[in-house]
Symmetry: C2
Subunit: 434 residues, 2 copies
């Protein structure tokens, strides 16, 4: 792999969370060069290691059994280091405090109160490292009447308001095909962690203005040791997705509007829908501004639509949406997906086929954008994987390795972070602490 540095090179992150949300935050930070140490339970590790589907391979060595490797784990934990640590044991808790002393950011996803029971709550952690930024993931947040409820992403999606609006009026609401609430929460967590670090290191105590004082006074002020204070960020799974449902609370409050399922039309503009091509592909089409609508009609070779009173402006198109959808479906249904794309795209038509993974891998734009990278892995062999998003001009980030084996970095991390000797570490293993 090319070793392109990421913007976060040098930042140290401890990730105590399991499954998806916290891991999304740490995955994004790791893509951009942060040193992310994933702290896992000894023996079993993160439950994500047991999520299917699996790649099966002959295990190395003489026994030659079959090993199953989780694709989810290998992608989601790329660029991270794995150490094992039993947080239920006092020796494990002491070790964690040692690691926390060296870290900039700690991510956790236990039920609210669990860290505190272990003597590892924010107060305890700030005693050893006042500058530690702590990002806490949980189903319902650290406060409020539901905080002790079990909460998975599905529940958060239902409660956020997002699901009630997704799907067709005559069929059930539709859940997302990915752990959407967890992942959106993860991105919010990474963003919020960066904000808190920026606040801690740059904005909290601004440097004095050098022109406002004598040079010696300024130099003294600048070199004065500052206690950097890290804060605690409470990220629930339901609130980030709720935050993306931007206007609905206010629409309800002021106008009494309760948005329900409206299928693939857009409630406030037309046309916007999916249409089926002659060769059986779904195609997204959006022409919700007057100019895109007019250029669409011309590109379709149907300029008469522009004189049709039913479609003359957005209000008319909304009123006659069904007729409009029929016109578009008829035209698109008579052509293959390639014919539609070739006829509409050059004149500015806003259309795209609904892609599968196979389409994505074959698409030249994805290739040129380096959205799909290739990597060699001891467990998976040679494989492709999604690349780094978004694209930084100077420090693009990189994928250095896929998800590590359980405890793969015990020696490296306990030695370099805590100064332990090989014997110390073997001793911890023998006692089941790591």
């Amino acid at each position: 792999m090319a070793t392109a540095t990421g913007p976060l090179l040098g930042l140290k992150v401890l990730d105590l969370s399991i499954i998806v949300a916290g891991g999304t935050a740490s995955s994004l930070l790791a893509d951009f060069g942060a040193e992310v140490v994933k702290v896992e339970r000894p023996v079993s590790g993160d439950p994500l290691r047991y999520w299917g589907p699996f790649k099966s391979s002959q295990s190395p060595g003489e026994t030659g059994g079959i090993e199953r490797t989780s694709i989810w784990w290998k992608v989601h934990s790329r660029n991270k280091k794995s150490v094992t640590l039993d947080l239920n044991r006092p020796e494990g808790q002491r070790l964690l405090r040692g690691l926390a002393r060296k870290a900039d950011l700690l991510i956790e996803g236990f039920r609210p109160g669990t860290l505190e029971e272990w003597g590892l709550g924010p107060t305890d952690l700030h005693r050893v490292n006042p500058g530690l930024v702590i990002v806490r993931f949980s189903g319902f947040g650290q406060t409020g009447p539901y905080k002790d409820r079990a909460g998975f992403g599905t529940i958060a999606e239902c409660m956020s308001g997002y699901i009630g609006m997704t799907g067709f009026p005559d069929s059930p609401p539709v859940l997302p095909p990915i752990p959407l609430a967890d992942e959106v929460a993860g991105v919010f967590g990474a963003m919020a962690g960066m904000m808190a670090l920026y606040h801690r290191d740059v904005l909290a105590e601004p440097l004095p203005d050098p022109f406002s004082m004598e040079y010696s006074e300024y130099a003294a002020a600048v070199v004065k040791p500052r206690v950097k204070r890290g804060q605690v960020i409470d990220v629930s799974l339901f609130e980030p997705l709720f935050r993306l449902c931007i206007p609905h609370i206010t629409m309800f409050d002021l106008l009494g509007i309760v948005r329900e399922r409206v299928g693939n039309d857009f409630p406030d503009a037309a046309p916007r829908n999916l249409y089926l091509t002659g060769d059986g592909r779904w195609l997204g089409l959006s022409a919700t501004s007057q100019s895109t609508w007019e250029s669409l009609a011309r590109a379709m070779g149907l300029p008469e639509l522009l004189k049709d009173a039913r479609f003359r402006n957005n209000a008319a198109r909304l009123e006659n949406r069904e007729a409009l959808n029929q016109v578009l479906q008829k035209w698109i249904g008579q052509r293959s997906v390639n014919e539609v794309m070739e006829q509409l795209v050059p004149s500015g038509g806003v259309v795209a086929p609904v892609y599968t993974s196979a389409d994505i891998v074959a698409d030249p734009h994805y290739q040129v954008r380096q959205d799909i990278i290739e990597i060699e892995d001891s467990e998976l062999g040679h494989t492709r994987m999604l690349g780094v998003v978004p694209k930084f001009s100077d420090t693009p980030g990189s994928v250095e390795h896929t998800g590590p084996r359980l405890g793969e970095h015990n020696y490296e991390v306990y030695r370099s972070w805590l100064g332990y000797s090989e014997e110390d570490i073997d001793e911890l293993v023998r006692h089941g602490v790591i």
Copy 2:
């Protein structure tokens, strides 16, 4: 409003983008205290101002016409300042360079190449402010064969792979009910912008170790002016959502799996679905780990399910998913949503009703978490709106005001950022530059 400071107080952001993606990034930064100046076209302003639904009100003054205020605009542009500026005119471009000189971060969303045509590309902007971080939003990114195509969120969603997996096998794929691709791109943009700022101000040129040199040498090194370099971040609309489809490219590459629509079941674990209660409400339920499944069966008063070979472990439950869904639907369908919640939640059942905006506003958890705030607005009157997400312990952020009137902050910003006098500004208005 209480003036709780956000972590980003003092950070200056210029937002040149229109509609949703860039505005999501700047909205999140503004919620946490960044000074966000939205640069809008004179006279018409951001197209989001014309997105329905609208609150109608009597306009002030003697003419007493009816004013329509966009709910989308008022929520999405909260906490931001509005200045007008015609970027097509040389005087407008000069003014923008002046503003950019003072900013930390610039957000834009024009078609690739547009800023450059105006003499406002990254090279031009870095000439006046080498430290400016520039976040560029576009449908397909700044490079690659599709970069000049028109791209809205719908198209990005189709191309990301997300839509092809959303919905039921026997009905069309389902589009999201919110501008999901734009908004996810916005959160990625805010995160990436913070990473680039942190890199610029903290990590790019680390301070020397004070113990490695003499005090005077250290003091000199520390106060030496450093040129801070801002970089350019290229955020497309299709890649962030693609990035959240974590394992699918690798699943396809290694195992040939092409994930298609599977409805509301989860492909790798059961039960996870929506069920209809006796009083006609949809309810999300997830019991995908063995322990949540066992406690669910007991909480339902159906311990015999645990002895049923069809449901004894996840593999069996997956194989007999239809029978399992029938058992659960039957039990839930005989009870009201409240009865189900009351019986299942106390014993750890992972269930929640599908909420509408009306449910959210009535929910005590949302209230306690301050997810819904109240605010007084000159155009909307007294209204409710979603709060600040996520929750910071020390610098929680706040909502100070709703979306501004067009050019509301011309005097304030041109005066305080550029030192213009009231007469200078009036002159710019007269010439239609602002």
